[in-house]
Symmetry: C2
Subunit: 151 residues, 2 copies
């Protein structure tokens, strides 16, 4: 059985509200490799709305951010570019909202690395509800020393 990207992280980096397995109040997004891209499915909760029946843009931004940083860190690991002294965190996030996203259906995120550039990895992401492209995202991540973030 495949292990989610986020579940391979050290315990101390597994409390993220968006994707940490140790955050019982969080969204617990799980991302998986599928060939050269990563995929995650997210089932919205009833209260994650923007308007009745429509998924909230902040929730969409959160799962794109988490799927993006998950992809960046997993890609760095694949390429031998990270170690105990480095991790990739979000430097900037851009989300474009194309269509209202239904609240009552799962959404599917697909992402891939667009660019490795020095200490930055840029990931692009799509969010579909069924066959409808509802949002796109770009997550620029920067390599940092984990000691700055994890005390």
């Amino acid at each position: 059985m495949k292990v989610p990207i986020q579940d391979e992280w050290p315990e101390a980096t597994s409390f993220c509200w968006g994707c940490g397995k140790n955050n019982s109040h969080g969204l617990q997004l799980k991302s998986y490799w599928e060939d050269e891209e990563t995929v995650a499915t997210f089932i919205p909760q009833e209260h994650h709305l923007a308007f009745p029946g429509i998924l909230n843009g902040g929730i969409i931004s959160t799962i794109i951010d988490c799927h993006g940083t998950g992809t960046a860190n997993a890609a760095a690991k694949k390429m031998g570019r990270n170690d105990a002294n480095s991790m990739y965190v979000t430097a900037s996030l851009t989300v474009k909202f194309k269509k209202p996203t239904p609240l009552d259906k799962p959404v599917t995120l697909r992402a891939h690395v667009k660019e490795f550039d020095g200490d930055r990895i840029t990931v692009t992401c799509t969010l579909y509800s069924g066959n409808t492209l509802c949002a796109t995202g770009e997550v620029v991540t920067a390599c940092v020393d984990p000691a700055v973030f994890i005390k």
Copy 2:
């Protein structure tokens, strides 16, 4: 006593997970005019973390989005540019993360309208923890027919 921008909206548009007064599970962000800019203070909950002690980027994106759309709609109202047949929703959101944001302190959002351009209003936003600029955001909103979103 000042009324929050979001609390002046119709009941049907007050369920947003980020800022709706009718969403008991939501963040309930409240924005206020302060001269030509809008201000909101947000107190993170314990589980809103990225890493222990650090506020989550998805939560930051959510409150910037809600403060931005709140500002756009309130500015449109001030200028007589909206009515029952129009509202401004997010077309795109960009957030730049400058510094880790402490989880255990309130954050302050300040925003203003950068541009009115046809049916779009662009809002820029800063997020401070104390005197530290931790994030900036730009929210491009588009004027839509509420009937498309509210059934």
